[in-house]
């Protein structure tokens, strides 16, 4: 009897920090956000419950255009991260020797030791009008006058891919690592060429890792703030910037809360669609890796 009580107490004590974290930092703020987003300012310090904040979003094209733009650019970032990350992950998991593997993995982690701000600043140093690339091209004579590489969509995408690619590589390495090499050899042995083996065997096998990586990178990319602002400038038109503007610049907390909920809803729908299309479930992708 006593033993059972101790077990239960241990469980409660172990579970408590997690429950507190979920409750205080995730559930409560979101309930607050939902409540806040449903309030409409009808007079100074007088609020009524309505969907006015959400209707505002629909009536103003710049808002939903920004959201769609954020979504589509995040999808592009995700696709690029997958395209670049897959060969890297494949090399680490399947081609590199066991000793090189640890070192390569560590190399992928190094950018995470530096803050977001410094990483973006690194890109600014490279891409700005008086930056390294512009000066180099001037020196080689390929361009006649300094070129501004910053403050455009390409810069934002490059910066975002760089930031999120690690989160693509990690789940991919762990799924590819679990794949028996003899399965790839069997693919060749039964007559498949390199492309067939990749398409029919490696990619289907790695699908859970691919989907997990895509979900994480898409969420990170759509929810990022610093990189688009620093590399894309004031006209980067990232949806998080709209949220920031509502909260801080316009002091419109109700509008900001509504935008926040809309971003959450939008990314959730995109991920749900992605899971449906790839025939995967959350349980065997993100939860697995």
């Amino acid at each position: 009897m006593q033993n059972k009580d101790i077990k239960r107490l241990t469980l409660i004590l172990l579970f408590a920090p997690f429950a507190l974290w979920i409750l205080l930092l995730i559930i409560l703020p979101h309930i607050g956000m939902v409540v806040l987003s449903l309030k409409e300012k009808v007079a100074p310090r007088v609020y009524e419950y309505s969907f006015a904040n959400y209707l505002d979003f629909l009536h103003e094209p710049i808002y939903w255009n920004t959201l769609l733009r954020t979504g589509s650019m995040s999808l592009l970032v995700t696709a690029l991260a997958l395209l670049i990350g897959f060969p890297i992950a494949y090399y680490i998991a399947k081609i590199a020797g066991p000793r090189a593997r640890g070192g390569l993995f560590l190399l992928c982690l190094i950018p995470l030791w530096v803050s977001d701000l410094i990483r973006s600043f690194g890109w600014i140093l490279l891409l700005r009008e008086t930056g390294v690339i512009s000066n180099f091209l001037l020196w080689t004579g390929l361009i006649g006058q300094p070129v501004e590489f910053l403050y455009n969509d390409a810069a934002v995408i490059v910066g975002l891919v760089y930031t999120v690619i690690l989160f693509m590589i990690v789940p991919l390495v762990s799924t590819l690592d679990g794949m028996d090499n003899s399965m790839i050899e069997a693919g060749y042995n039964l007559g498949g060429n390199g492309f067939t083996v990749l398409r029919r065997i490696i990619i289907p096998y790695a699908m859970p890792g691919i989907v997990a990586g895509c979900i994480v990178t898409f969420m990170l990319s759509a929810g990022s703030y610093l990189t688009p602002i620093l590399l894309g400038g004031k006209n980067s038109s990232w949806f998080t910037e709209q949220i920031y503007n509502q909260f801080i610049t316009r002091f419109n907390w109700e509008g900001g809360a509504a935008f926040g909920m809309l971003l959450l809803l939008f990314t959730s729908i995109v991920i749900w669609l992605g899971l449906k299309l790839s025939g995967q479930t959350l349980a065997n992708t993100v939860a697995k890796s």
């Binding site: 028996d180 003899s182 399965m183 050899e185 069997a186 693919g187 060749y188 042995n189 039964l190 007559g191 498949g192 060429n193 067939t196 029919r200 065997i201 289907p204 096998y205 699908m207």
Partner: protein
Amino acid sequence: MNGCPTPILPAGAFMKQDNPTYDLECLDIAKNFGSVRAVKGVSFDIPSGSFFSILGPSGCGKTTLMRMIAGFEEPSGGDIKIKGKSVLGVPPNRRNVKMVFQHLALFPMMNVYENIAYGLRCAGFGKDHIRRKVHDVLERIALPDVAEREIHQLSGGQKQRIAIARCMVLDPDVLLLDEPLGALDLKLREAMKIELKLLQHQFNTTFIYITHDQSEALVMSDNVAIMNQGEFEQIGTPQELYHRPNTAFVAGFVGDSNRWSGTVKASDGTGGKVETEQGLPMSFSAGAGQTIRDGAKVDIFVRPEFIRTVRTAEAAAIAADGDNRMDGVIDSLLFNGANSRVLVRTGSGELIESDVTLTGDNDLKPGEDVSLVWSSKQAMCFARQESA
């Protein structure tokens, strides 16, 4: 075609290079990994439609040899010919050699049908042709209803058969099997041994079976090659290897043996007398192809089934002239039905294994004084290798 009477000789023995009756010929094939010589110049031919096993302890190079035949490793020297054509430089997906992997390597993301159809799709066959072929091969392995099952829904034995079907549907010249029975439990392994042999008969394709389990090799094969430290010690039928081993390694590796070391006291080249290290005299006959000289250090192998164990009082009646005889006390009795055995402790303290027939009536018991009797013909003698 099976039970082919043609004995396999080393390829160098006759130089018929393009003889179509050989599905696979390996000529002096070698593989080095850095300074490690994994395979050291192995030559052999395999007649069409036979079941050939390569038997050896782990790390003897047999898997490397198989991977070279399949094309996953490039040999450092020598030549491999399939149906008379050299396949050096031919990538694995262009060789008509299929392989059943140790852990089968069935594709878990495809169902049974897709697994079998994969190779046919790669070969570019049409949909109807593939459907017919897959169902045909499933009939032949007696699993006609599993086409739509997922791999994880199959039992171990079924997976085995699907892995073979996946290869056989492509009509390979040679099927390689890399210890595919290793992961199965004992009972299933015994059943699969017979089944593999039957499947080989049915498909009438050359099977090359790699194993470290001698009973698998002996039961299934038409011919067996014994491999040790990158070289073939002997190639022959299971009976030849068992009864007429060429080397001490083969004698010790294939089947159980009692082993003595000793020095030859008198020899006429093919037989004579030896004194073991324990000081016991013993008569022997030289192993196949061996000439034993006086004073040579030798190893003597005697199989347990050739030693007769009788109560000391009855020994004189059965021991013929020239037989070896040793007295001892039964230390323990290992009962295993028809394969029962006694461990006899001799006067000099060593333990000798001997097979006995236990009838349940007036059997030998531990503690009884017994005599061990065996013919000198069954005492196989090999000159000692210095490294052994």
